[in-house]
């Protein structure tokens, strides 16, 4: 059951990483978004997969009637989704502002904090 999803997750990771290795901030962000999904699916799959049956307790019972999908990873992923979404939103706006102020979305060209022609340290006493 897990095998196929696992391979798919691997693909997600590869694509995410490849995008994040781009010079362009925008592509990095796309990569980050995909990375988030990949990680979420990884956690989800590590809790093992059960087809279809959601972890809900029927009206008339106190415990699930049948074996349900593993609820814990779902809760964890839920948390992770919301967190990664928040970060994604922040980074997106950050990228936009950086682009506005620095006039480039090429990360290698963002050299204010570490200037290209960095002064050599002073000598003498």
């Amino acid at each position: 059951m897990e095998t196929g999803v696992t391979i798919l997750i691997g693909l997600f990771f590869s694509v995410a990483v490849y995008l994040m290795l781009s010079k362009q901030l925008v592509r990095m962000l796309l990569g980050i978004a995909i990375l988030g999904n990949a990680v979420n699916m990884l956690i989800f799959t590590n809790g093992r997969l059960t087809r279809e049956v959601p972890p809900l307790i029927p009206e008339d019972l106190y415990v699930p009637a049948t074996a349900t999908a593993n609820p814990l990873p779902q809760a964890l992923v839920l948390t992770a989704i919301v967190i990664s979404f928040s970060f994604f939103a922040f980074l997106l706006v950050l990228a936009f502002r950086a682009y506005q102020e620095l006039g480039t979305d090429e990360v290698n060209e963002m050299r204010l904090a570490e200037p290209e022609n960095d002064q050599t340290p002073p000598q003498g006493y």
Partner: protein, 790 residues
């Protein structure tokens, strides 16, 4: 006999350091008088030990400091430490007075006093501490305080350089010493010097003797300015003369010698010891004297002879030969007295005549008779002429070197040449400025105030007095000290006048003859050496600058190499390491998963996977923003459907929402931020990054396969399923986990959401260029609110 007062005696100078500035503010330079009482009392305190110590007793007092790491503040009072303590406090007394006169009216005289006192306390601690770690702490404190004192005249680059140089050389040596001590501690399990000394072979027996020996030597040689670390000492003459007199002749530079003498029973008397020490000591002696001859500045001449004397001391200590050691102890005492005096004299001359250049000085004897007298006595002692302690010392040390079965001859020869040159310098320093015709000096010279000549007079007279009562000196000071150096009780029988014609006497006569001969040729000798040095053109001092400059520019190069400011490099490295982290351990432990069997999915599930893949590819090849955004949405939807497929309605619910909102926010943001049609990746970069990306994906897939092929422990989830409704009153187990079972995660998570919102607000609103519309509309909203309020 001993109690905590000894401990407080060590700490007293620090207290004095605190009050010194205030006293100086009130009494100006006369604060020297009350302040001098402190070292005087300390001197008296240790004087009280002389008699019992001379009976071979030794004392230990301790108070817990960091018992958790076996560190105590403990003192070990025996002959050696008593002698040093008395030198430090005794000479210290007169240095304080001298400083009072020398820096009269200086705006920061108070600060100077407290630095001096801090040093005094550190030095006392150094020579008295019984605990290796606390000994080291005081050792480093002397380096720190001397850093402050050398740099006292901080506006001059030369002072700054000298100070930093001293700090780095002695501090660097200090680190070696620390390593050595730690090795001793971990090798022997002992941390108290007295305990170690009680079983002298404890270190020699360990395999770590060699590293320990070398590291301790590193500490001692740098501190005591042994060649090739000698250069910092003459430069330290940038400091005000009281400092030179105190630190760089009488006390601090002797710390290394003290250490060697202290550890002689533990490390000494081995082939290594008796080869290395005499060698370095001898070289230092010759280099020091020769360089001294070349100088014309009084202080520098004295400084180089100090280097030489330290060399002599190390050489003698290196022989491990009783008589030579006795000579070393005697010479140590003598040197502290005459060198201290001479430094103060040179300072006085400088202070009164306005120059220290020997060639510009002459005929001051009438102007400064008392100083002249003191100078003469000190110089005679330095020259090793009777009836002064210097003479006694020379006799004994010749006796020792001559009788040493080791490289006796070589050492003796070195000593003779060295002493002869010492005589030359002594003459040049003490005779030249005072005798002969009067030379016009920048300032009109006359006798300085009592504060200035008290010190020299007392020290030189002491040098005479100790010689006259040579026997007592031997019994009270030299004997006990020698005992602690040799590591067993030694009787010493000193007399001023040689009883019979023997080798030492002859050697002394040779020394004197040679000395006089050289003095007549002084100028030629000077130009000769100068020429030689010019021919060499390089010295450790220049080397120091080159090393510092080298380190700095190397670090610049290195840093620009590893921190090249290119984000992409950073990312490639990080994911490269990620790939290693996920692939390598599995490989090394041979725990790759078994070949999985073909999973059984329904066709529409395959369809969903296919959509996900297509979405990914679409993002990868997207040429325009919107294509990218929409494709991103597609893979997100596919993920949501996968969640649904495997029974996670809440997840797919949230995923749908989040994906759409991400897409919306992207659309809102990307209106300005453009996506360049292709990410310009030259093919090598594309290949490299591609490999990294695939490696990461592959590694994680393998790891997950290996994990998911193992049985799963679902005890948590079972628990949640069991109690979700019966106790937590919720049928949606996931939601119950979120708000109850693991509600705390959620609390943190909503904090993240809030913060993200605030971050974005700050990002958009706080503008270098204020954003009209935003402010406007918010004001509008606020105004309407106020309106509603009314």
């Amino acid at each position: 006999m001993i109690d905590d007062t000894t401990l407080y005696a060590v700490l007293a100078p620090f207290a004095a350091a605190v009050i010194a500035p205030f006293l100086t503010r009130w009494f100006k330079h006369n604060a020297a008088w009350p302040l001098a009482i402190v070292p005087a009392l300390i001197f008296l305190h240790f004087a009280g030990f002389v008699e019992p110590v001379s009976r071979g007793e030794s004392f230990v007092a301790a108070m817990a400091w960091a018992p958790g790491y076996g560190v105590n503040f403990s003192v070990y009072v025996d002959g050696l430490s008593t002698l040093f303590a008395m030198l430090i406090s005794g000479i210290g007394t007169f240095i304080i007075l001298y400083a009072g006169g020398y820096l009269k009216g200086h705006p920061q005289q108070g600060r100077f006093f407290s630095f001096l006192f801090m040093f005094m306390g550190s030095m006392l601690g150094l020579v008295l501490c019984n605990n290796l770690i606390s000994l080291f702490i005081f050792w480093e404190l002397t380096s720190i305080t001397s850093f402050l004192l050398i740099g006292f005249d901080h506006l001059r680059a030369a002072s700054r350089r000298a100070a930093l140089q001293a700090l780095l050389v002695t501090g660097g040596g200090g680190l070696a010493l620390l390593a050595g001590f730690i090795l001793i501690i971990s090798a022997t399990g002992e941390i108290e010097m007295s305990v170690l000394l009680s079983s002298p072979d404890i270190i020699k027996d360990t395999t770590l003797y060699l590293p320990i020996f070398l590291l301790v030597l590193g500490g001692a040689f740098t501190k005591s300015a042994q060649f090739p670390f000698h250069f910092w000492l003459p430069n330290a003459m940038e400091a005000p003369t009281p400092v030179s007199a105190y630190l760089h002749s009488a006390t601090m530079v002797k710390a290394g010698v003290y250490l060697l003498m202290r550890m002689h029973p533990l490390l000494g008397d081995t082939v290594l010891w008796t080869t290395v020490l005499p060698l370095f000591g001898g070289v230092t002696l010759l280099v020091g004297t020769l360089l001294a001859v070349r100088q014309t500045d009084l202080k520098l001449m004295l400084a180089y002879t100090t280097v030489a004397s330290l060399g002599l001391l190390v050489m003698l200590t290196g022989t491990s030969h009783e008589k030579a050691l006795e000579g070393a102890v005697l010479y140590l005492l003598a040197h502290s007295l005459f060198k201290g005096a001479l430094f103060m004299v040179s300072g006085t001359i400088d202070h009164e005549a306005g120059t220290r250049d020997v060639t510009k000085l002459g005929g001051l004897r009438s102007a400064m008779p008392i100083t002249f007298a003191a100078a003469c006595l000190a110089a005679l002692s330095m020259a090793g002429l009777p009836p002064l302690i210097g003479f006694v010392a020379k006799e004994v040390l010749y006796y020792g070197t001559w009788g040493w079965p080791g490289f006796g001859l070589a050492v003796t020869a070195t000593a003779v040449i060295g002493n002869a040159l010492m005589l030359v310098i002594a003459a040049a320093v003490a005779i030249k400025p005072f005798l002969g015709p009067k030379v016009e000096t920048p300032k009109h010279a006359h006798e300085g105030p009592v504060l200035l000549f008290a010190g020299p007079v007392f020290l030189s007279v002491t040098g005479l007095g100790l010689a006259l009562v040579a026997h007592t000196t031997g019994a009270l000071f030299i004997g006990p000290t020698l005992s602690s150096v040799a590591g067993r009780i030694m009787e010493v029988d000193l007399h001023l006048w040689p009883t019979k014609i023997n080798a030492p006497l002859i050697l002394s006569l040779i020394t004197i003859g040679l000395g006089i001969a050289l003095f007549t040729q002084l100028d030629r000798l000077r130009s000769l050496i100068a020429g030689a040095l010019a021919a060499i053109g390089w010295g450790p001092d220049k080397g120091f600058d080159q090393v510092v400059a080298g380190i700095v520019s190397f670090s610049g190069w290195l840093t620009r190499l590893v921190q090249n400011g290119k984000m992409q490099t950073y990312m490639i490295l990080i994911f490269g390491f990620t790939a290693v982290a996920v692939l390598l351990p599995g490989y090394l432990t041979g725990s790759y998963p078994a070949m999985p069997k073909m999973p059984e999915y329904r066709f529409y599930e395959w369809g969903i996977f296919l959509i996900a893949v297509l979405g990914l590819i679409a993002v990868l090849v997207a040429k325009t923003r919107l294509t990218a955004i929409v494709s991103l949405g597609i893979q997100g939807f596919a993920v949501a459907l996968i969640f649904m497929m495997f029974g996670a309605p809440d997840l797919s619910f949230t995923q749908f929402m989040v994906e759409t909102l991400s897409v919306v926010i992207l659309a809102l943001v990307m209106t300005r931020l453009n996506l360049s049609p292709s990410d310009h990746r030259p093919w090598p970069a594309a290949v490299l990054t591609g490999i990294v990306a695939i490696a990461v994906g592959l590694g994680l897939t393998l790891t997950m396969l290996a994990i998911t092929q193992q049985p799963f422990d679902s005890r948590l989830s079972d628990f949640f399923a069991q109690f979700s409704r019966s106790i937590a009153h919720g049928r949606n187990i996931v939601n119950v986990i979120i708000v109850d079972f693991r509600g705390f995660d959620t609390l943190g998570e909503i904090a993240v959401v809030v913060l993200a919102g605030l971050c974005v607000l700050a990002l958009i609103r706080v503008r270098t260029r204020p954003d009209k519309t935003a402010q406007a509309s918010e004001q509008e909203a606020m105004q309407t609110q106020q309106a509603e309020a009314r």
